[in-house]
Structures are given as structure tokens and as C-alpha cells.
């Protein structure tokens, strides 16, 4: 038997281990290697694209997990009463910029509801379209435009999530981090509370870091 293990890591490549087992389960051989993340992602995407359902039943991918996180964030956050009065029946989870999720997001949120509202996944191109969203994932492709995006969302009750570096330091609310092969997150609570969002303590206690003293405009 052969097992291939991919280790999620920081940086631009995945670690890889190839282990050979005897039928009794003892490790016989052990290879270590590195595969660039991009390659893996490409393969995974391809596989995802080809395998569809099958791959969903096996170990979840990074963005499947992140998609689940997006959904679950929605369950631990309280929006102010008057937020996005426009679309009361829906709970939109939007992706701004280059969509890293693909079908994972749709698959995750399909048929689910939060607080009685049907969850829908949206891809948007401009911050202005984000006004109706509850949760907004800002793709790392928008790294350069982040300041503009955030200021456009300034007074709106949208939970901003991203996995781009320094997201919370630059005013974002939740930043997804990969730590010890796990997806973690850090929270900029001040930013969230400033727009009337209330984050459950149950959520906060899981955060790696919670910033309560962020001052906008300082970039800290």
C-alpha cells in the first residue's frame, strides 16, 4: 500500500510524503518532497472539475474548508437589524475578485440557510455590488485595491473575510490563516463592531488573534 500525504504549509509549496505500508500497516518506505502549491491546486482543480461528487467525499480541500468556514462564520455573527434591507430572504455569501473556491462554495452553501434566510453564493466584480452581501470573501487578487474596497464598504454591515496577508491589519475583519495543517483565522473585532456586527464569543475563542483596538486609517 502506498499513501501520499500533502502537508499544507505557508509559502508557495506543499510538502509531500510518500509512505509505503506493509499489509499489517507498518511503514516501510518514506519519501519526502515538495510540490509547488500551484501545481497541486491546478491538479486539485482539475480533479475537482473531473471527479465532482467523488472528490467531495474524500478529505476536503483547502477551499472546501474555507467555504465551510465562510458558511459557519455566518452562523456565529449577528447583523444589525436594519442591515441590507434589500434582500431579506437571502443570505448572500459573495466572492470579490478571482474566485478561488470554484464549485466548493456552491456545494457547501447549497440548500443551507442561516437564520431562516436561504444562503446563496455570489461572485461580484465591484465593491459596490457587495452592499447586499452578508459575508464577503475578498480574493487575494484584490490585494492592491484593498484600501478602496474597504472604504467602499465603510458603513455597510458586511463581514469581510480574506486570506490575503495583513488583511486584518489593513482593516479587514477576519483573516483565514493556515497553521499547523489547519485553517485558522484571526479577527479584527473593532472593525466588525464598528459597523454593528456582533461576533459570538464562541467564535472569538477559536481565533488565533483578536484585535479589539484597531483604529481605521492608521493601517494598524
Amino acid at each position: 500500500m502506498v499513501g501520499v500525504w500533502l502537508e499544507l504549509r505557508r509559502g508557495d509549496s506543499y510538502g509531500m510524503r510518500i509512505l509505503k505500508y506493509t499489509p499489517q500497516g507498518h511503514v516501510v518506505k518514506h519519501h519526502r518532497g515538495r510540490i509547488p502549491k500551484l501545481a497541486v491546486t491546478a491538479v486539485a482543480a482539475a480533479l475537482l472539475g473531473f471527479s465532482g461528487l467523488y472528490l467531495e467525499a474524500s478529505a476536503p480541500t483547502e477551499y472546501q474548508v474555507k467555504a465551510a468556514y465562510l458558511y459557519n462564520f455566518g452562523r456565529f455573527v449577528q447583523w444589525p437589524a436594519d442591515a441590507t434591507a434589500k434582500e431579506k430572504a437571502y443570505f448572500p455569501i459573495c466572492v470579490l475578485g478571482q474566485d478561488p473556491f470554484g464549485r466548493a462554495l456552491d456545494a457547501t452553501v447549497g440548500g443551507q440557510s442561516i437564520d431562516g434566510k436561504q444562503v446563496v453564493a455570489r461572485r461580484i466584480l465591484t465593491p459596490a455590488d457587495a452592499l447586499g452581501c452578508r459575508v464577503l470573501f475578498i480574493s487575494s487578487s484584490e490585494d492592491g485595491e484593498l484600501k478602496n474596497v474597504l472604504s467602499a464598504l465603510d458603513d455597510t454591515s458586511v463581514l469581510t473575510v480574506s486570506d490575503m496577508p495583513q488583511f486584518t491589519a489593513r482593516g479587514g475583519m477576519i483573516r483565514l490563516i493556515t497553521q499547523h495543517n489547519r485553517i485558522r483565522f484571526e479577527v479584527n473585532l473593532a472593525a466588525a463592531e464598528r459597523v454593528g456586527l456582533m461576533l459570538s464569543s464562541q467564535l472569538l475563542k477559536l481565533a488565533v488573534n483578536v484585535d479589539r483596538n484597531f483604529q481605521p486609517g492608521t493601517g494598524r
Partner: protein, 500 residues
């Protein structure tokens, strides 16, 4: 335990009964309460565990959703505060272990027990543990399953405490009951004991003037005491009546005895004077008649001589009568002294004494074996003398006289008989045989005073026996008599021989 109680006094028995009843009631009540309490305790334990599971669930849902077992375990760690919690585990919705708390740091995960369909929760008491498994939902969707496992130390501790409390309660109550029993003693046992004492005093000392003291309350005991005293009154009365009747009887007996003694003495004096005073004239009659014959016989004709002879005979006869009467009287007054007497040598001795009478007589004697009986040898001797004399006398006319003496079995009794083949008598007059001076033959034919058989009958009756006779004229007579039942066993053989 049962036979020990039966040997105790009533007071002790009452006390035991009280103690037993109280102890049983107490134990039953305590057992019931304990049982109820323990059931409630179990339910509360389940409830508590369930609540703990829910709390844990609420606190760990996010950790489950965000795949942070660490966080879940740190909230589980708080369970350390509950020393009874063996472990608590959180399982993913797929039933895989996610996070756990293990008392004593021994990780012992196991498969998730199944909750029956439709139920949120299930619990089991087994292997001295309580397991509670609960499905945790978050916002309507199943999030995880929590398993709580607790030991039963609470129940055990409660049981121990119960045992101690029950023990003290029972001991204290029994002590109180024991004390209260002393009151019961006084009201029931004491009167009974007093009554029993009184009864035993009366019985032991035969003192019927004693009375039992009355009971203050009116209950069955009072009735018993009252009846007891009334009984004693009656007994006392009867006793007194008996005593006075006894005394009266004694007096009467003494009186009678005195009279009898007096009568006896009179009789004795009578006999004495008869024996002496009657004889002298008789002697004189006979004497002078004789002198007449001797000295003046030649002057008298045959007729005169005949008259004188008759006078002499008369006197002689009277002398005989006097002697016989005196004999009979003496025998009648004589005390019977019974001794085991072998009748065979006695009979032989009688025959010996009769030799003079038997001179010149041809008599065939058939003497059977006679028993040894309890009787007065002197008096029985008289019986034989009389009966044999009669037999000899009344066979005088027979050429070959046959006289039999023996014993026969007659309905279980020993009967002795004397039989002869002599003149016999008419059975018609048998009832006159034993009368005093009664004769069934003329004096010409057979001399005799008619007192012999009366004497014999007197003697037989004194012995408590019976006498009767059977005879046929000229064919002989047989006299049968008993002297009370045979005492000595050797006689059965003799009986058999005689019966042949």
C-alpha cells in the same frame, strides 16, 4: 429465635414483640424512603449529566465546526471539577471521536453507543457507571454528539450515609421503644405476674384465703382477676364444707366404732358368761341323771331308765350346741389375717387330725393338687374340718365311700371343692343349707347341730369368696367355694390338671 422467646416471661416477650415490630416498621419505612431517594438520585444524576452534556455541547459546537479539537478539549477540561466524571467525549456527526476529557489522563475512547432513533438522548446504568449520550444541534442542524460517563460514587456515598442514618435511627428508636415497653410491662405484664404468683402461692400452700389484687383499668385482665378471686371464694367455701363434712364423718365413724366396740365387748362378755354359766347346769343335769342311773338304777324300771337317758342326751346335746355357738361367735369376731398358704399340707394335717373319726371306715380319698392362696390358714382349716367331717358323716351309710377334694377352674376363678357320694340332699332345699341350726336331715339319721355350714359360710364370706352346693338325694353332695381370685401363677398348671 422462636423457641428462645417461648421460654421468656410475658414481659420479655412483649418487649421483644415491640422491638421486633418497631424495628420492622422502621426498616421498611427507611428502606422505602431510601429506595425512593436513590431513584430520585439516579434521575437527578442523569439530568445533571445531561445538562453538563448540553453545556459542553453549546460550548464546543464552534470548535467542532471550525475543527478545533484543542479548544473543545480545553472546555472539557473544566470537568475535572467533577470527581465523579470518568470521561466526556465529543463525537463528530459521523460518530468519530473528536475531543475528550479523561479522568486520570487515561485516554479510553470507545465507539459511540447508539441513541435510539427519534430520541435526542439516551442513558445507561451498567458496569457501575452511568453513561449519557446526547445529540447536540446547532441552529437546527446536528452538530455533534456528546458522551458523558460518570461513576456511581454519589449513589454509593448516599447509600452509605443512609445505612449510617438508618442504623442510628433504628438504634435510637429501639432504645425509646425499650423504655416505653416498661410502661407496657406495668399495665399488662405486672398484673399477669401478680396473678400468676398468687395462683402459685395458692397451689403451693393450699391457702385458699389468698386473693389476687385488682387491676385499676377495666379490661380482660380485670375480668380474669375477678373470676380468679370468685373461684377462690368458691374453693374456700367448698374446702370449709368438705372439712366440716369430714369432721362430722369422723365423729360419726368414731361413734360407730365406739358402738361396735361396745357391741363386740357385750358379745364377748355374753359369750364368756354363756360358756361358763350355761355349762354348769348342763353338767349338773347330766351328772345327777347319771348318779340316778348308777345308784338307783336297780330301783327303776326300763321306762324310767329310758327317760333318764333322754335327759342325759338332752343335756349333752345342749352342751354341744353351746360349744358350737361359741365357736361360731368367736370365728365371727376374729380378724382375718391373710398369708400365702399352701393348702396341700393344711389338708393333710386336717386329715391327720380326723384319723380317730375314720377308724373302721372304708373311705376312698381322691385328693387333687391344691393351690397356694392368700388366706387365713386357721379359718380355712376350720372350713376343711367342717366340710370333711360332713362328708365322712354323710357317707356312713355307703359301703364304699368316696370323698374327693380338689380345685377346678370356673370362669377364670379358682374354685375348691369337697365332694362325696353319700346321702346327698334335695337341691330344692339348698338355700337352707347354710342357715344357723338348719338341718336337712333328721337328727336320728345324722347327728349334728346345723352350725357347721353356717360357720363355714361365715369364714368364706370373710375372705370375700363364695360358697354353694350341688347334690342329689342318695347320690352325694359337692360343696364349691372360692377364697378370692388366685394370686400365684403356679396355679395355672394345677388348673389345667384339675380341669382334666
Amino acid at each position: 429465635m422462636r423457641f428462645r422467646i417461648q421460654n421468656h416471661s410475658i414481659a420479655a416477650e412483649l418487649t421483644w414483640m415491640n422491638l421486633l415490630v418497631s424495628a420492622s416498621a422502621l426498616l421498611l419505612a427507611c428502606a422505602a424512603f431510601a429506595a425512593y431517594d436513590l431513584i430520585m438520585l439516579r434521575e437527578s444524576m442523569v439530568r445533571v449529566l445531561s445538562i453538563q452534556a448540553q453545556i459542553i455541547g453549546a460550548n464546543s459546537v464552534s470548535a467542532m465546526l471550525f475543527n478545533d479539537p484543542h479548544s473543545a478539549e480545553s472546555s472539557l477540561a473544566a470537568l475535572k471539577a467533577g470527581p465523579n466524571i470518568i470521561k466526556a467525549e465529543i463525537y463528530t456527526p459521523d460518530g468519530l471521536p473528536f475531543a475528550g476529557y479523561f479522568r486520570g489522563h487515561r485516554r479510553k475512547t470507545g465507539p459511540l453507543p447508539k441513541i435510539p432513533a427519534g430520541q435526542t438522548e439516551a442513558h445507561w446504568f451498567k458496569n457501575k457507571e452511568l453513561i449519557v449520550v446526547r445529540r447536540i444541534n446547532f441552529q437546527g442542524k446536528p452538530a455533534e454528539t456528546v458522551l458523558m460517563e460518570s461513576d456511581l460514587r454519589q449513589i454509593n456515598n448516599r447509600l452509605k450515609r443512609y445505612a449510617a442514618v438508618v442504623f442510628f435511627i433504628v438504634v435510637a428508636c429501639l432504645a425509646a421503644v425499650f423504655l416505653m415497653s416498661s410502661f407496657m410491662r406495668r399495665s399488662i405484664a405486672e398484673p399477669l405476674l401478680r396473678l400468676a404468683d398468687t395462683a402459685s402461692i395458692v397451689s403451693r400452700d393450699k391457702d385458699y384465703s389468698v386473693r389476687a389484687s385488682q387491676v385499676d383499668r377495666y379490661n380482660e385482665l380485670a375480668i380474669l382477676v375477678k373470676s380468679f378471686n370468685e373461684m377462690l371464694d368458691q374453693i374456700q367455701e367448698r374446702d370449709a364444707a368438705l372439712k366440716s363434712a369430714h369432721a362430722e364423718l369422723e365423729l360419726r365413724v368414731q361413734e360407730r366404732t365406739r358402738q361396735l366396740a361396745g357391741a363386740n365387748k357385750e358379745l364377748e362378755a355374753f359369750s364368756y358368761s354363756v360358756s361358763h354359766d350355761l355349762r354348769a347346769p348342763l353338767r349338773q343335769i347330766d351328772g345327777f341323771s347319771n348318779i340316778l342311773v348308777n345308784d338307783y338304777g336297780r330301783h327303776l324300771d326300763a321306762e324310767a331308765l329310758r327317760y333318764l337317758n333322754l335327759i342325759r342326751n338332752g343335756a349333752r346335746k345342749m352342751g354341744q350346741l353351746v360349744d358350737d355357738l361359741l365357736n361360731m361367735g368367736r370365728i365371727g369376731r376374729q380378724e382375718l389375717t391373710r398369708r400365702p398358704t399352701d393348702l396341700n399340707p393344711l389338708l393333710q394335717s386336717v386329715l391327720q387330725d380326723m384319723q380317730p373319726e375314720l377308724e373302721g371306715r372304708q373311705i376312698e380319698w381322691r385328693i387333687g393338687a391344691l393351690p397356694t392362696l392368700e388366706c387365713d390358714p386357721g379359718l380355712v382349716r376350720v372350713v376343711f374340718v367342717n366340710l370333711l367331717s360332713n362328708a365322712v358323716k354323710y357317707t356312713r351309710r355307703k359301703e364304699s365311700a368316696l370323698i374327693e377334694v380338689g380345685q377346678a377352674a370356673h370362669g377364670g376363678e379358682v374354685v375348691l371343692f369337697v365332694r362325696d357320694n353319700g346321702a346327698g340332699f334335695d337341691q330344692k332345699y339348698a338355700h337352707k343349707l347354710f342357715g344357723v341350726f338348719q338341718r336337712l336331715h333328721r337328727a336320728d339319721d345324722f347327728e349334728g347341730t346345723g352350725v357347721g355350714l353356717a360357720t363355714v359360710q361365715r369364714i368364706i364370706h370373710k375372705h370375700g369368696g363364695r360358697i354353694w352346693a350341688e347334690a342329689r338325694v342318695n347320690e352325694g353332695a359337692a360343696f364349691f367355694f372360692t377364697l378370692e381370685t388366685v394370686r400365684h401363677g403356679a396355679q395355672s398348671r394345677a388348673l389345667d390338671e384339675a380341669a382334666v
